[in-house]
Assembly symmetry: C2
Homo-oligomer: 389 residues x 2
């Protein structure tokens, strides 16, 4: 019954050479700290046109990264949104210049817990930030992206688009930089994180904290990573990404072996699947980043940032909004999108809303959902025509 050891060697710093831009003056965060320098790792797809009017910023979700539409450098698997971003896809890279940045606090090259800690003057301290990395907010993530977008010479984004935590960033973009966002597509998201979502995140964090290999966050000193804790965190999160229908359709109560009445692990197919999800995740994701980013999501409350009234976040906006939810998503249910649409209506914003019928749960925004792809593609083409791209 002993679990196989899941410890893995870990280099003190990442070995992948990500494309990055360094801002030596750093970034002042909501919590009062300054990270200096600010490093933003990013990828682009397609070509920026002459008047720089065809840029689409894609914002990634909790465990996503900047490798949207190409083979992932760590896992070797396809990009996480290749069904949506690429030549002839809804976000057509033959027409649009697509940018995606690893979020601040992430673990794929942007400033975050796994990168080298710096002092107030920006000097490297020879060890990772780890849990000394300051608390970041969704707004901080968006501020870092704004620096990148400015660096690329783009005054106005044709569209900012993202699902889940990516959608939170879209909303923050529209609220903070309305003149820089012609169109915004927050998908399968909400204007705040619910008590239930906070609770599920807390379970994941507790599992990481409980892993002795976490070592108070200083696991680079031991050469081991908290693989079991991070794996449990991923397992519970993964359940919330799927619908009950999707789990039942995929696995039902199917057994892995012929004999049911054994006490082996992974008796049911769904268990084996979850364990696989957990164990593959730890190969690509940093536990301290997971703690940092889940906290950022938990803190997100756009209404609270605007005097307690969500509509205030969008007063006077000229941005066009496309809000989409999925009928079986219980993590970010349609009711959250409706609340967002009501606030946008109250702010007299230009908004279209669609609930996509799907039994795939929250994950639907990442999967093959033709109705969603048609709706998003149509919205983007309409925006492009209006701008003259």
């Amino acid at each position: 019954m002993l679990r196989p050891a899941m410890s893995q060697a870990v280099a003190p710093f990442p070995v992948v050479d990500h494309q990055r831009v360094v801002f030596p003056d750093g970034l002042a965060l909501d919590c009062g700290a300054v990270v200096r320098p600010l490093v933003v790792a990013y990828r682009t797809y397609g070509t920026l046109n002459a008047d720089r009017s065809n840029a689409v910023l894609v914002c990634h979700a909790l465990t996503g990264d900047q490798y949207v539409a190409e083979t992932h450098p760590v896992t070797g698997r396809p990009g996480w949104w290749e069904s949506v971003v690429g030549p002839g896809r809804p976000i057509d890279t033959d027409r649009f210049f697509v940018v995606c940045a690893n979020v601040l606090g992430g673990c794929m090259g942007s400033t975050g817990p796994r990168e080298e800690m710096t002092d107030a003057e920006g000097r490297g301290l020879g060890r990772p930030w780890g849990t000394d990395f300051p608390l970041v907010t969704i707004r901080d993530m968006v501020r870092a992206q704004k620096r990148l977008v400015d660096h690329l010479g783009i005054a106005r984004l044709l569209c900012v688009v993202g699902g889940s935590m990516g959608g939170m960033q879209v909303l923050e973009w529209a609220a903070e930089y309305p003149d820089a966002v012609f169109a915004a597509a927050p998908i399968a998201t909400a204007a705040h994180h619910s008590a239930q979502n906070i609770a599920f995140h807390e379970v994941g964090r507790a599992a990481i904290h409980a892993d002795p290999d976490w070592a108070g966050g200083r696991y680079w000193e031991t050469g081991r990573v908290p693989a079991q804790g991070l794996s449990v965190a991923r397992m519970v999160a993964h359940i919330t990404y799927l619908s009950e229908q999707a789990l039942t359709r995929k696995f039902g109560r199917r057994l892995r072996g012929a004999s049911a009445l054994t006490f082996l692990e992974d008796v049911f197919e769904v268990e084996s699947y979850l364990r696989h999800q957990g164990s593959t995740f730890v190969r690509r994701f940093d536990a301290n980043s997971y703690l940092t980013i889940t906290r950022a999501m938990d803190y997100f409350d756009l209404a609270a940032e605007h005097g307690g009234e969500l509509a205030n976040a969008f007063r006077g906006t000229r941005t066009r909004f496309f809000v989409a939810s999925f009928s079986s998503d219980w993590l970010f249910p349609t009711s959250e999108s409706r609340a967002l649409v009501r606030a946008l209506n109250a702010a007299a914003a230009n908004v279209s809303f669609v609930e996509i019928t799907s039994d795939k749960g929250h994950d639907a925004f990442l999967l093959d959902e033709p109705d969603f792809h048609r709706a998003l593609g149509g919205f983007l083409r309409g925006a492009a025509e209006r701008v003259g791209v």
Copy 2:
């Protein structure tokens, strides 16, 4: 950021002197093993009448026990169903003789992983069963209860009642011993465990397995219990017991302190609550029992036991059924109760069904729900009148 150590001293065997009955011949289990002797710890409330016709068997849920309507000997807290069982309560102990047994595989005195392991002749081996305890099923639990009921001289129970896993036992009683069950009240339950429910259980088991203090299940040798792993298991389970509405009403996004942007733990009240739930649970519950009982629930599939057709489990039954669900229960949703009612109808059984409107989630069956209490009390009084109690 280091979590405080949660290790606790643990005696090799429990110290509470539970009321028990010992069956020296033991019990043959579905898995083929025999546990010998079989010990059933139980409590009774009220008085058995002269013709032994007023007995109500209460079946407890995953983390419940036999202390239904009295102060718990370990926690010192009220019994888990005092709102339902007691003088003048829906299950009126002035009128009925109430019996509740700790389930086989449990940790409150019945044969289970925390009790002393025995050999084939029933001789004690001087150490707990631990993970050598054989796999048990819901049907095995019910067989053990049947031995107790026979021992008490009760040929027919007026009613078998229970919620959640208790409801699974009710269904198994009605299917296995129809002539011994005049009335059956399966509440907030289902005739099988769903893929999503299996998945949540698997997260809990993975968290226990991941705790080094679990020590391959032999934690009595170290004097420590896998408190952190069991606590994480309890936390995730607890989320599933509550509705999103209940969590939001109880906690919303309220912060524990004045300042939001700190990186302390338990920033939100919901986190503090969950951690408290986890840490109090480990004081009263055995991790190996948790593994054993969750597995029993996962395996439960009454239709599969009856040729794949749920109605077959109840063909020819004369038992009266009272099926109840709660509108915001997403762990055992109303759709599962409806499927059960359809099967009972197909078997021409006498069945009444009620969905109680409640925003308290799965936990509602344990809480103050007057409509539920009235319905259950009415059903039981009707059965009693028919029997002439």
